[in-house]
Symmetry: C2
Subunit: 549 residues, 2 copies
Amino acid sequence: NRVIRAPRGTELSAGSWLTEAPLRMLMNNLDPEVAERPEELVVYGGIGRAARDWECFDRIVEVLRRLGDDETLLVQSGKPVGVFATHPDAPRVLIANSNLVPHWATWEHFNQLDREGLMMYGQMTAGSWIYIGSQGIVQGTYETFVEVAKKHFGGDASGRWILTGGLGGMGGAQPLAATMAGFSMLAVECDESRIDKRLQTGYLDRKTTDLDYALQLIEQAGKERRPVSVGLLGNCAEVLPELVERGISPDVCTDQTSAHDPLNGYLPAGWSLGQADERRQSDPQGVVKAAKQSMARHVEAMLELQRRGAATFDYGNNIRQMALEEGVKTAFDFPGFVPAYIRPLFCEGIGPFRWAALSGDPEDIYKTDAKVKELIPDDPHLHNWLDMAKERIHFQGLPARICWVGLKDRARLGIAFNQMVKSGELRAPVVIGRDHLDSGSVASPNRETEGMLDGSDAVSDWPLLNALLSTAGGATWVSLHHGGGVGMGFSQHAGLVIVADGTDAAEKRLRRVLWNDPASGVMRHADAGYQIARDCAREQGLDLPMLDS
Amino acid sequence: NRVIRAPRGTELSAGSWLTEAPLRMLMNNLDPEVAERPEELVVYGGIGRAARDWECFDRIVEVLRRLGDDETLLVQSGKPVGVFATHPDAPRVLIANSNLVPHWATWEHFNQLDREGLMMYGQMTAGSWIYIGSQGIVQGTYETFVEVAKKHFGGDASGRWILTGGLGGMGGAQPLAATMAGFSMLAVECDESRIDKRLQTGYLDRKTTDLDYALQLIEQAGKERRPVSVGLLGNCAEVLPELVERGISPDVCTDQTSAHDPLNGYLPAGWSLGQADERRQSDPQGVVKAAKQSMARHVEAMLELQRRGAATFDYGNNIRQMALEEGVKTAFDFPGFVPAYIRPLFCEGIGPFRWAALSGDPEDIYKTDAKVKELIPDDPHLHNWLDMAKERIHFQGLPARICWVGLKDRARLGIAFNQMVKSGELRAPVVIGRDHLDSGSVASPNRETEGMLDGSDAVSDWPLLNALLSTAGGATWVSLHHGGGVGMGFSQHAGLVIVADGTDAAEKRLRRVLWNDPASGVMRHADAGYQIARDCAREQGLDLPMLDS
Ligand SMILES: NC(=O)c1ccc[n+]([C@@H]2O[C@H](COP(=O)([O-])OP(=O)(O)OC[C@H]3O[C@@H](n4cnc5c(N)ncnc54)[C@H](O)[C@@H]3O)[C@@H](O)[C@H]2O)c1
Ligand SMILES: NC(=O)c1ccc[n+]([C@@H]2O[C@H](COP(=O)([O-])OP(=O)(O)OC[C@H]3O[C@@H](n4cnc5c(N)ncnc54)[C@H](O)[C@@H]3O)[C@@H](O)[C@H]2O)c1
């Protein structure tokens, strides 16, 4: 079995940092610390791959090593298909992954092409070489919880608690994100091994099988204004109705069980894990029916907690839809997390900005952390995140940092990092990028673009323009994907990564690219009619020809 | 009613030729000589528009007039949404039209967004500002017939004849294209006014209601080796079986009735036009049934003619499918025109290359015609086309020329035109572009990518990469559309236009862009396993990293 790990240090194996960077980031995506199943080239998110197969991987590496600074490599669903003459300000790599003509954009058709070796699922940051491990999900969840605090509690979460379910792959980030944001959390999880895993990594503080004790811990923490997270072994469809019964309400209520997959993702009330495993084989229809009935009870309890004052939202697991199908007519009375908390950020171009130190030296990241605090002195949540992240998040692969910043800050930060490279303050160049899930780069009507003000949820002109603009501006690599996050047929999205190598040429590109990219998100939201975005566009002096019509 | 016509001559109303060019070409698309319904901004192909509405049109013009040479305008479904800082080698305009997230990519959803003013149908060259009138369809049909002659008759069509049906909007180009390619043609058309229209424009030579006389004209022409086109007033579903009965076979057999639309597009055997009109209101189901039954007879006759030796093919009107549904099991025994005749051209990057003279002076086009003949001395079909086009095709709007040339010629021609601008031989710059229907720029499984060798018909990574590459190389404007030609859900495709303004900078861009674009088509076909493309790639020295694996 091959073990891939990006080279560290300042010695180049490619012709320049502009080609060394994609090389290292491709390898970093396959680092065993980063990738879920590196032997299959799977980085994260089911079957999100970094390259189509090992032969393609080797050939990409080979091409990047020889690629000139006026050449561009084309990657088609993880396969290096061509090298073309461009110019120094053009991207070095252009990537298109998993794109299918709409009428054929299904998992069936994709899987067939995948089996035949003709395609690859790129997810969002797997096939575009800018995944940085679980820091991303912790930060995204933190950011959501901070917004919850801002919207409902004047920005102060102390003494407040969140009730949720599910401590799985993504949901396991909830307790750490909650305590970072100042909330206590009660997380109901039916699988003890999931609770234990989060205890071990320090993401979760306590475990119990006793609801009374759990509530006591939360109450105690509330009094002391010292947030605690508690994993309660139990079933949401039992625990939530019980809380309603007892008249106990959290301040915030959400859920991250895998409700989107009623066969495998949600344990029906009253069932044991073993029982469910068995019945999944012998009676899958029965499992689905039982799970959906339990979800209906679960959602009814959430609705009641909402009526009693809890800030309640769907965390993208489709549980409202399931309950609706089981007859809970009011299921959609609580909102999805994007329209409720994330969209106002997107309106200012705020999203999952991130960077990685090509040197491999954690000090390079700590220095950039300090630089961010220096350049954005007035954002306590951001400072808090940086401090907590340094303390509690282990780097996976190349040291990297994620933090949600917007139009007014991204280019400033990128230019500052570039100067730090130039001055020698950082040991080597950094790459700067973001998730495809961002302000101007995604059309995904069941998630990022759910319920747009003007009904333009499904219009995917925007992410395509975003990719063209990043290419025109001179990002180092640009990607266009389909199906990330929500699966085949349901999203189109674009990515970019740009190298800060300390040169003046890079500074010019950074100034354009890291401005235009979030600006295109502000533009998209201003066009949809969001006032925050229109105000932001005016304040930042964007040139949007139809803004006033 | 506003009448738009592009400015002619050398005086600029915008800041440079790089912005004057999209300005004039946008206007040219709306020239009454060019556009089908200019008052609604409809250029061609149903509702293919040049801009979303008149306000958007005015604003685009306004922006182009002030746009700097380091700025880029973004157009989203015909609306100018933003201006961003880029650099002189970046495109001046980036366009995304009609793109929808696949699950929502239907006419219903599109029409709703369109009604609400949120989208626009861009077709292929309407929303991307490089439609040049009916010359395109004549040339495409000519090219197909020339390939038929090459494949079946050693390149010599003389004394041979084509049997077809339909002289409508597109089909009316058949007789002119046939005689240009050296074939005689018998075209069966049930609507006399359609025949008369083609006589008037000189596209058709003769009209008759008598099959015997028609066959006599064709036979006479064959003997004299002087091709003639004859419009026969009749019904294909009657005339073709009659020919079979009599034992008369053409050399080539195809059809361009509107069989794709059995309600409105195909007259059932034995019916009058008036009768059909009436029954469409009173009994639409009955019309569809009768039309499809007639199509079945029509296709059975085509199959029999094929068995008797006629080169028979479907011209993209879906008549095989209709016959299949009526029980003609062998309907797909004759091929579609793309796999049969066009794909081999695509394998060498050959496709609908075109250019327009911004001066408005026809002499500028005639000079480029001569230059093409000088630079490509060894292609008699091309010379023939250029001579015939000059003689028989009227310019619509700005003088323009289309001719199918491939990888080995496009950049050479572009650079030569640029030199002619530089030297003053041409009065003003020319723009150079192509249809979206081209070698590397479209994924359309029911037409351009039907039956790809490796089954990759629906993979749309390729047109997306094509657009990104044209952007990286420095085309003047680049477009990404959805649904052109075959409708919502069924295609994704990219376009580019580049200005030859006589500068050295333009020459560099032309060298890259007009090489990379057809090269990406050769790459796409080489990747799918076509030997012609693989050979072409090797001969032309393309750098395709996985070509030999
Ligand atoms: N919108 C977003 O951005 C976003 C982000 C992360 C996750 N999600 C969604 O959140 C959900 C969780 O994701 P994940 O990766 O953590 O999934 P996962 O399958 O790894 O974890 C789900 C957890 O829920 C537990 N569970 C199932 N039924 C339960 C019940 N009745 N009571 C208590 N616990 C129960 C399971 O034991 C498991 O640990 C998914 O639906 C995912 O799509 C959405
Ligand atoms: N694949 C391609 O690139 C391509 C290009 C052009 C056209 N087409 C297809 O070709 C077809 C024709 O296109 P169009 O724009 O010319 O359509 P159109 O509707 O303008 O013309 C169709 C003509 O067929 C005649 N007709 C109908 N039924 C007949 C019958 N039974 N016998 C004789 N004549 C009959 C009609 O009177 C009409 O003049 C369409 O299906 C179109 O989609 C495909």
